[in-house]
């Protein structure tokens, strides 16, 4: 198993999200979690998705996997519309798409042994031969840097957060998926462990020929692993572009603000007095026009009247702003 299958090397993006809308009911009000997001992820690419809490990035990740059904829009995975799928068809498709969560300890059943946790997806996928299952489980556990003979018989509480995340990664890899949504996979981990897990994800990506949607709030973490980055604010995309370019020359004032707010571990860099005033408005009643306008230093009347659409400002770089910085 695990040989990187010669996958269809077409130019079609592996994932194509089009005008996705996800809403939650809250009493008689509606939370506009994702409001018309379109994006593409090419085969073998890592797309980073950044934004602050409540911006809808996790909801977007879940809606891609149909764990939360979108209200409208489509999610094309390898040409198949996941939003139109149900039951067994969807379950089969989900073997090709996996998810890694933020809290590695909470995402492992505390009463089951590691070997069984990692083997579970194989059982669901119909691998009936226990020997075959064991062989695959042993292979993935070794791949993520754990000794299968030592860990398979133990319970999750015997492991640290970093090791639990390795186990979660092994579980996500066991069906040899093509695409993994990583939802804040390192934000619950300590700095020294974070680097280990980021390196592991990179290594696994190359080894298994994966395509990743990497969701995080930490821009430096996102940059470390992403080919392209999408910035999200209050349910909408602000900006999408190649990592280097987006960080060197942000076009959206919100991206610039995020970059400025990161504390730099260098005492010579005086922290800029935070230009960020105010806080993100509620997604129950998002502002008219551009959703960032209430905190934007460049906002004017047009921003409240007219919603900016994503448009190209540089090769590969798209921005949704009436007054972009470049």
């Amino acid at each position: 198993m695990m040989q990187v299958a010669a996958r269809n090397p077409s130019d079609e993006p592996l994932l194509k999200v089009d005008d996705l809308v996800v809403e939650y009911g809250l009493g008689n009000r509606t939370v506009h979690a994702v409001s018309g997001v379109s994006l593409e992820v090419a085969r073998g690419e890592t797309l980073g998705l950044v934004g602050e809490s409540g911006c809808g990035k996790s909801t977007l990740g879940r809606a891609v996997l149909q764990l939360r059904r979108p209200k409208s829009g489509s999610v094309l995975f390898d040409g198949h519309d996941l939003t139109a799928m149900q039951g067994e068809t969807l379950r089969r498709m989900r073997q090709r798409v996996q998810l890694i969560f933020q809290d590695p300890i909470a995402s492992l059943n505390p009463r089951r042994r590691i070997g069984d946790i990692v083997a579970e997806p194989l059982i669901i996928a119909g691998v009936k031969d226990p020997e075959k299952r064991k062989q695959i489980v042993w292979e993935v556990l070794s791949a993520v840097g754990l000794d299968p003979d030592l860990v398979a018989g133990r319970l999750p509480h015997e492991f640290s957060g970093g090791q639990c995340q390795r186990i979660c990664i092994a579980r996500a890899l066991v069906l040899n998926p093509e695409f993994i949504v990583c939802d804040e996979p390192v934000s619950a981990l300590d700095v020294s462990i974070r680097a280990q897990i980021l390196n592991l994800l990179e290594e696994m990506k190359t080894r298994f020929g994966l395509t990743l949607l990497f969701i995080a709030h930490d821009l430096a973490v996102v940059k470390a692993v992403s080919d392209r980055v999408a910035v999200m604010y209050l349910g909408r995309l602000c900006e999408v572009g190649p990592s280097e370019q987006l960080f060197a020359k942000p076009a959206h004032p919100y991206t610039a603000l995020l970059l400025e707010a990161i504390p730099v571990p260098d005492p010579d860099v005086r922290p800029a007095e935070s230009v960020a005033t105010g806080e993100p408005p509620s997604p129950i009643a998002p502002p008219s026009g551009c959703r960032f306008r209430t905190r934007c230093p460049r906002a004017d009347q047009r921003c409240s009247a007219e919603m900016p659409e994503l448009r190209s400002v540089a090769p590969g770089q798209l921005v949704a702003c009436h007054h972009p910085l470049i």
């Binding site: 680097a195 707010a261 571990p265 010579d268």
Partner: protein, 330 residues
């Protein structure tokens, strides 16, 4: 040490656990002068929070504290509960990580603010209310009068942390302990809260201990930094010295492991292998030795003492200190 507001002398904290005693804080010495800021940096389980609890005398009941915690001329470890209560909230204030759990959900913000003020300052209700409004204004809360009647759940995380800071500042404390004050907040809100803390600290000439896991947070905002590992302070230095002329391999490794914005995507991070030691099974040697790339024979057998470096105020606990290649001007 004479002018010090806070002087922690040989403080150790032991917690009984089913697997044996856990030494959470292992003989720590620290001093802090009035109006200065000390950053305490370390990963989870390094003892930084237990150290702050030891200063505040808010340790778990079963914990055993040894050593002296001299604050403003008095040893807090030997103070009676009544005097401690007088001190806490007035001279000694704290802001915790999670503002939702540190505020009482069933009391209005006004009640919580005025309670502290009236407990410690001899003010009548209208005066306490006026002071509350002033404090909320100072921490940047719009429409403070309306906020007084609201409950914590009606405020955002950032607002709640501002309110917690307002309560902490309400009696002009001499020392503020901020324990991961921005860890639960978003990055743009974090910048605002750190600015607010720095501004109030300068304005009120408070001493502050900023406890964090993030070296980026202490870099621009502290006078001095103490790095903790496995219960001990392993390096302590004026902030610029720590970043430019660190001697402790752990400090170097921790700094290197942080993803940097300048680095190109897909560059492997210099990760620290392994994980911190089990605190119930202390190692005979340096606690970092199993993960340290410079470790040699002696490191596994004996604990290095905290010794003075060439720069004043710089201490490190290592047998094989690293020498930074470039000598940054003194």
């Amino acid at each position: 040490m004479n002018g010090a507001l806070l002087s922690i002398q040989d403080v150790a904290v032991e917690l009984p656990t089913p697997r044996g005693n856990l030494r959470a804080v292992d003989h720590v010495d620290l001093t802090l002068e009035a109006g200065r800021t000390l950053g305490v940096v370390g990963e989870s389980g390094c003892g930084k929070t237990m150290l702050s609890r030891a200063i505040l005398q808010l340790l778990p009941k079963k914990a055993k504290l040894t050593g002296r915690v001299m604050f403003d001329g008095r040893d807090l470890a030997r103070l009676d509960p009544e005097s401690l209560r007088e001190l806490r909230g007035r001279d000694l204030a704290v802001v915790f990580q999670d503002p939702m759990t540190s505020l009482n959900p069933v009391l209005t913000i006004g009640t919580q603010l005025m309670e502290t003020i009236q407990e410690h300052l001899e003010l009548d209700a209208p005066a306490a209310k006026r002071r509350s409004i002033d404090l909320l204004t100072a921490v940047g809360i719009p429409a403070p009068e309306q906020r007084l009647a609201q409950y914590p759940h009606q405020c955002s995380g950032g607002m709640r942390q501002r309110i917690a800071i307002a309560i902490a500042m309400s009696c002009e404390p001499k020392l503020l302990i901020a324990d991961e004050p921005t860890t639960a907040l978003d990055v743009t809100i974090q910048a605002q809260i750190l600015d607010l803390l720095a501004r109030e600290q300068r304005r009120r000439h408070m001493a502050m201990i900023l406890i964090t896991h993030d070296l980026g947070v202490v870099a621009g905002r502290t006078d001095e930094v103490a790095v903790m590992y496995a219960g001990r302070v392993v390096e302590r230095a004026p902030t610029p010295t720590l970043f430019k002329r660190m001697h402790m391999p752990y400090t170097e490794a921790l700094l290197a492991a942080i993803p940097k914005l300048e680095t190109a995507p897909h560059t492997p991070l210099p990760a620290i292998s392994g994980r911190p030691p089990d605190p119930t099974r202390p190692l005979p040697g340096c606690a970092f030795a199993p993960r340290c790339r410079y470790a040699a024979g002696r490191c596994h057998q004996a604990k290095p003492d905290l010794s003075a470096a060439e720069t004043a105020g710089h201490f490190y606990a290592c047998f094989h200190p690293i020498q930074m290649a470039e000598d940054v001007g003194a």
